[in-house]
């Protein structure tokens, strides 16, 4: 079965791909923190921030169509949140649009602010996931001293999520094959509950078998990495440049 893997381009060989995972992770982290920190009624401070994900994705050679697709996949949740804002927040705010001062309900500003933040945050996340191998990301998190249990869980989540999706697809297909046309809603709900139960039991059984396989290869509770990460001068320069860029963005919006 074919899945739209989010890390499909993570094994490229561009200069961005070759950067240390820690550098990219820190860049993404600082960038996201900055984006999130922009006040909810402001939009103009977000505009210069578009440069970072744009440059990241362009230099890495990730197709824009791929990025757009992933942004669209997650958009319903955030769009729903955004469109309801104007109904709840009716405070009046004066904003400059093309040199003209106009008064707008705060809800509209919050909606646009949310959508732009979402666009920036997700494109940065897709850029990170598409230029960094997941095992390198886990190694970077290990180096940042994240708890071992969390790293282990992330590792297995990444490894078995696709298996779980495939099993869910198979169960759904089997239900469709036997539903003989339209399935009444009540039966749909009941069978969905059963499906979730089956998936849970299978996951539990699988986890036990995986643990047996780990024990067979002498696992004693400690996950040891094969590779080590190496920081080069270019990583330090890049991280410094990104921080300078964020500081510059902050400076121009507070003039």
């Amino acid at each position: 079965m074919h899945h739209q893997y989010i890390d499909r381009y993570a094994r490229g060989d561009s200069a961005v791909h070759q950067l240390d995972a820690r550098t990219k992770l820190l860049c993404a982290l600082f960038f996201t923190c900055y984006v999130v920190s922009v006040p909810k009624y402001q939009i103009s401070p977000l505009i210069p921030l578009i440069l970072l994900p744009f440059a990241w994705i362009s230099f890495a050679g990730i197709p824009w169509r791929f990025v757009g697709k992933h942004i669209l996949i997650c958009s319903p949740f955030i769009v729903t949140l955004a469109v309801f804002n104007p109904m709840f927040d009716r405070t009046s705010h004066s904003v400059a649009i093309l040199g003209q001062r106009v008064h707008l309900a705060g809800g509209y500003l919050v909606a646009v602010n949310l959508l732009v933040k979402y666009l920036l945050g997700l494109s940065c996340l897709v850029a990170l996931a598409s230029t960094t191998r997941f095992d390198h990301l886990l190694l970077a998190l290990t180096k940042f001293r994240l708890p071992r249990i969390l790293i282990l869980q992330l590792s297995y989540l990444y490894r078995y999520l696709f298996e779980l999706i495939e099993q869910a697809h198979e169960i759904l297909r089997a239900r469709r094959a036997r539903s003989a046309g339209r399935l009444p809603l009540s039966l749909k709900i009941r069978s969905a509950a059963g499906m979730v139960g089956i998936l849970f039991v299978r996951s539990y059984e699988s986890s036990q078998k995986v643990f047996l396989a780990m024990q067979a290869r002498l696992y004693n509770g400690e996950l040891r990495p094969v590779h080590q990460l190496h920081v080069r001068t270019v990583d330090v320069v890049l991280l410094f440049s990104v921080m300078t860029y964020l500081a510059f963005c902050f400076w121009i919006t507070h003039q």
């Binding site: 990444y158 490894r159 078998k209 780990m214 024990q215 067979a216 002498l218 696992y219």
Partner: protein, 252 residues
């Protein structure tokens, strides 16, 4: 090469609910031998492999197991697992690390080997299983056949003396199955294969144990046992097509 690689004597085991799975099972595999373990579903094949790996609760187990000269007991489990390469039925359970290379290095890393030695073993296992091109790939990007080969590589890197394989050809297409047979044929290890793929057993294993209801019910040359129709039918099996038609006499 006549020493005993696996010796099982009067082994019994009951599941936690009291259902007996193994009932006084006795058999042995000599060093360098390829042995088939054949039986219907629920006969006790997989449970036996788990027992050999020291995975069953000792309190519910009676009898003795000897692997490579070591008697299986709590203090010897690690030493025994170093001698055994267990390939489980579903390769997705065997491949749990983010990349193929990480998975193959998992065992050697746990053995506390130096990085140079680990690299050498990973390279060797990839080469032996013909999976060098899959080195950096995540397991969920592999085909079923590739997963089976990599699952074997993950235990070869531990340089075990004995390979235990549970249904190694399950879900493989004919080409994948053929390539697996050739791979197993090229290995010098003592191999114990449990399963139903009787044609595979015929090609790889000169000797067979048939087990049913937790007991060994027959043992002997594979070709003789598998051609014995009344015996096969009695224990929920059937004579493989190649023997039924009298076409192939393959086991040496």
């Amino acid at each position: 090469m006549n020493s005993i690689a696996i010796g099982v004597h009067n082994l019994s085991y009951a599941y936690p609910d009291g259902t007996p799975a193994l009932r006084g099972l006795t058999f042995e595999v000599k060093t360098g031998e390829n042995m088939a373990l054949v039986g219907r579903n629920g006969a006790g094949k997989s449970t036996l492999l788990l027992a050999l790996g020291g995975f069953l609760d000792a309190k519910s187990t009676q009898g003795s197991i000897e692997i490579g000269g070591l008697t299986l007991e709590k203090s010897a489990v690690d030493a025994i697992r170093r001698k055994l390469g267990i390939v489980f039925q579903n390769p997705d359970h065997q491949l749990f690390m983010p990349t193929v290379e990480d998975d193959i290095a998992f065992g050697p890393l746990n053995m506390g080997l130096e990085h140079d030695e680990i690299d050498r073993r990973v390279d060797g296992s990839l080469r032996q299983t013909g999976t060098e091109h899959l080195r950096g790939k995540p397991p969920h990007h592999l085909s079923v056949g590739e997963k089976h080969r990599v699952a074997i590589a993950t235990v070869l890197s531990m340089e075990p003396e004995i390979l235990l394989m549970d249904e190694p050809s399950s879900n493989l297409d004919p080409a994948g199955r053929r390539s697996l047979i050739e791979l197993l044929r090229s290995m010098p290890h003592t191999i114990l294969i449990a399963g139903h793929d009787l044609e595979l057993m015929l090609e790889l294993c000169p000797k067979t144990y048939i087990i049913d209801d937790g007991r060994v019910v027959a043992s002997g040359p594979t070709i003789d046992l598998l051609a014995d129709e009344p015996l096969m039918l009695k224990h929920g099996l059937e004579v493989p097509a190649s023997l039924r038609n009298g076409k192939v006499q393959r086991t040496s």
